[in-house]
């Protein structure tokens, strides 16, 4: 089976950022995303979620370049002020050219 090596960017953050982050994804050129509801704890306010909604996990398969650009935006505009974590993993994608 022919697969393409690509980058999976995973973002976990407070649910309130959903629309804004989906906007950032589109702007950066991501071709798609998968969104899951989740909950979690980290360095900031675990309890907030009760009234402010739980967390979301946003996964997008992108080229390394797009990943880099998104990480830049996140670091600059989101990390200082919101509960959020982001990480990259290497994946092999079927029909990978569709996602670049």
């Amino acid at each position: 089976m022919d697969t393409t090596p690509l980058t999976l960017l995973t973002i976990v953050c407070e649910a309130i950022l959903k629309e804004r982050l989906l906007g950032e994804l589109t702007k950066a050129g991501a071709k798609g995303h998968t969104l899951t509801e989740c909950e979690g704890s980290g360095s900031r306010h675990r309890r907030v979620s009760e009234t402010l909604g739980a967390n979301i996990k946003l996964e997008t398969i992108v080229s390394p370049g797009v990943a880099e650009q998104l990480l830049n935006t996140l670091t600059h505009d989101y990390f200082p002020r919101f509960a959020i974590i982001a990480y990259l993993s290497p994946v092999s994608v079927v029909r990978g050219d569709k996602y670049i």
């Binding site: 309130i16 309890r47 907030v48 009234t51 402010l52 909604g53 600059h76 505009d77 989101y78 002020r81």
Partner: protein, 334 residues
């Protein structure tokens, strides 16, 4: 006062709220499913709007005029007074002061409903158009506080350093306004008001068993959940400090008293004035938190959530409502 308080405490609403707090303190696993909570709040807001709309369809604009005017006045005054108290007396940072003020400038729908039920139990039902007033009070409150916060922070930043990143630019006010105006609670309540107005008593009849017959029971379940949420925040009481604790109980009494007074002047009945006072006294914990989180992320959620949910909400539910009612009764007796 004592017998009024007793009536309130023996109501299923207050008791369910207490049960929620107690089970949190007992570390019980009890929790309402997320979708049940959302469903109940949709139901309550829509039912509130519908009922209000049906009654509004039988109200003359005349009767509505002065109450509406004083309500808008309250909507402009309460966020400013809250902000100033927090800034000047409490020495809170701008973001926190504005964030908390947005909560106290807005209205807690559940507290409003509980007040409505209470005055009904006391045989002093409020005017049918009070849900209309609620929507008038809801909108300016959050907006004004957020605007104050944004403007003041921009000024402060400009003073500190010239360069300002895009990220720190305040969100456009139009976006925030759209968010509040089209928020779930707005759509359901205003939409309900309009539907209720259009269909009138006759259209309401067949859906009445659902929207009116179930109302108090559904509210009981909802207050159980509110108790669970408030109970979970009790632990934060220590970290918010004594000032906020006092603030969360004294400001409501001041705002509530002012609301009762203005309500009385504008010609509302005892029940109506008590409910208007309750609205002014209450702090939103549904509409305000996400708006503040989005627009003023620098504000610490622990402050505004704990104040609104774990201090002012229980205070109003248990002591406040009977107190504002008592005030309205005294005023009417003069």
């Amino acid at each position: 006062m004592w017998d009024v308080l007793q009536v309130n405490l023996a109501s299923p609403l207050a008791l369910a709220f207490v049960l929620g707090i107690v089970s949190r303190l007992l570390k019980s696993e009890l929790s309402l499913p997320r979708d049940l909570y959302a469903s109940l709040s949709i139901y309550l807001l829509l039912a509130l709007g519908l009922k209000g709309g049906v009654e509004l369809s039988q109200t003359s604009l005349n009767a509505l005029f002065w109450p509406a005017v004083v309500t808008v006045g309250l909507g402009l005054f309460t966020p400013v007074s809250a902000y100033l108290v927090l800034r000047r007396l409490g020495r809170f940072p701008i973001a926190d002061a504005a964030g908390i003020a947005a909560h106290y400038g807005s209205v807690s729908a559940v507290t409003f409903i509980a007040a409505q039920q209470f005055v009904q139990t006391m045989n002093q039902p409020a005017e049918g158009f009070l849900p209309t007033l609620l929507t008038l009070l809801e909108i300016p409150g959050i907006q004004l506080a957020l605007a104050i916060g944004a403007v003041q922070m921009a000024r402060e930043r400009a003073a500190q350093h010239a360069g300002q990143s895009a990220a720190e630019a305040p969100r456009p006010m139009a976006e925030v306004l759209h968010e509040v105006l089209t928020s779930r609670s707005m759509i359901l309540m205003v939409g309900g008001l309009i539907i209720g107005c259009l269909m009138g008593e006759q259209g309401y009849e067949p859906v009445k068993p659902f929207f009116e017959g179930m109302f108090k029971g559904a509210l009981t379940l909802f207050l159980l959940e509110m108790g669970l949420a408030a109970g979970a925040r009790l632990g934060d009481l220590k970290s918010v400090g004594l000032f906020l604790l006092g603030f969360g109980m004294i400001l409501p009494v001041l705002h509530g008293g002012l609301g009762v007074l203005l309500g009385h002047w504008s010609g509302l009945s005892i029940g109506g004035a008590a409910v208007l006072g309750t609205m002014a006294a209450s702090a939103s914990y549904i509409a305000a938190p996400p708006a503040v989180r989005m627009t003023l992320p620098e504000a610490n959620p622990t402050y505004y959530l704990t104040a609104a949910l774990a201090i002012t909400f229980p205070f109003n539910i248990v002591l406040g409502i009977p107190l504002y009612y008592q005030m309205a009764t005294l005023l009417a007796a003069h």
